[in-house]
């Protein structure tokens, strides 16, 4: 799954080193406009619905956190 998440993220923001960035939101690497694209792609590709309450920086600061969120919503 991590690879698929990375592919989605790199398609949206090809200029970002997602493997190494650990504070994607807190450091302002991803802006709010990136988030909606990411949420839409995750919802469509993983058949989940990311809720307003899930739009927390901690859920999007790292690739690992995003994978964890997707897994949680798939359960």
């Amino acid at each position: 799954m991590k690879e698929q998440v990375l592919n989605i993220l790199e398609e949206i923001r090809p200029d970002v080193d997602f493997e190494n960035e650990k504070l994607l939101i807190d450091d302002g690497v991803l802006d709010s406009f990136d988030i909606i694209s990411i949420v839409q792609e995750f919802n469509d590709n993983f058949s989940i619905e990311i809720d307003v309450e899930d739009l927390e920086p901690d859920n999007f600061n790292t690739v690992e956190a995003m994978v964890k969120l997707i897994q949680k919503l798939q359960e």
Binding site: E11, D15, V29, S32, F33, S37, V52, L55, P57
Partner: protein, 287 residues
């Protein structure tokens, strides 16, 4: 139904939960808690219930930026009445899928129509290495100043006293519904940070470029050339100075472009920019 101010993050979440009680919703809302809190503190965030779902309204003084939470239903939406002009931004990747097309249909049923189609353009920063050396030596800035001064124009960082003229130029050139125009305070801050490059003819500002820089990423917010000065290459001059300014730090240069603005698209393509798969349509509704 009149709009009602949202007074806390909890109230915002409760409103969204209510909208979702009837089932899955479609939304373009991408505001993170800190951005939401800021708008709530400023008293600019409102909700307005619809025949189905709700609209979140960010009051931008002369217009509303709208975020929707609409039920996934086949039932037709009823047009909404709003107190001001309004815009809905709709970001997507590549080509719209079926679900996104359905959202657009609902947006149109609410009374909005397509205003602008934008795409992200990007240029990698590696190309700037040569300019970086120039900038470190101070050559870049000198070169542009010299070239411009031959034509009685000077290109340099804007000063605080230019702010009013720059705002006038921006307001005359852009529809605020689309353009995220800076407030006077935001412009002052940008001038202070040397993020605004201006071309002067005497005391007159004839063109300017407003930029931003975050985490290795340089971006253009607006470029404007006064109508009398268009077609003389000032946009290109501003772009060259912008590239030189961020040459050392930026790993990429990117910004949104109206895909139907051919002169702008051509200028960026010539400067090495390429279209990305990220797109955004703006749907507008006049009062």
């Amino acid at each position: 139904m009149c709009r009602k101010r949202i007074s806390s993050l909890q109230e915002y979440q409760e409103r969204i939960r209510e909208a979702k009680r009837e089932g899955d919703t479609l939304s373009n809302c991408y505001l993170l808690p800190n951005a939401l809190q800021e708008k709530i503190d400023q008293g600019t965030l409102y909700f307005q219930t619809l025949s189905q779902g709700l609209l979140l309204l960010d009051d931008r003084d002369t217009f509303f930026r709208c975020y929707y939470f609409l039920p996934e239903t086949e039932k037709k939406m009823t047009p909404v009445a709003l107190e001001k002009d309004a815009v809905i931004e709709f970001p997507f990747q590549g080509k719209m899928n079926e679900k996104q097309q359905r959202q657009v249909k609902m947006i149109e049923e609410l009374g909005f129509s397509l205003g602008r189609e934008s795409s992200m353009m990007m240029r990698k920063g590696e190309r700037e290495k040569r300019s970086a050396v120039q900038q470190q030596r101070g050559e870049g800035h000198e070169l542009y100043s010299q070239k411009c001064s031959k034509q009685r124009q000077e290109i340099q960082y804007a000063q605080q006293e230019d702010a009013e003229q720059i705002l006038q130029l921006l307001c005359a050139a852009f529809d605020p519904l689309y353009s995220f125009l800076p407030s006077q305070k935001e412009l002052w801050d940008k001038i202070e940070k040397r993020q605004v490059i201006a071309i002067h003819e005497g005391e007159q500002v004839t063109a300017c470029l407003i930029s931003n820089f975050e985490k290795n990423k340089a971006s253009i917010e607006q470029v404007v050339v006064s109508p009398q000065q268009r077609g003389r290459g000032w946009g290109k001059e501003l772009l060259m100075m912008y590239h030189a300014k961020y040459a050392v730090e930026a790993s990429s240069f990117q910004h949104w472009v109206d895909i139907h603005n051919e002169p702008a698209v051509n200028m960026y393509v010539q400067a090495g920019y390429e279209f990305q798969s990220r797109k955004a349509n703006e749907y507008i509704k006049r009062k």
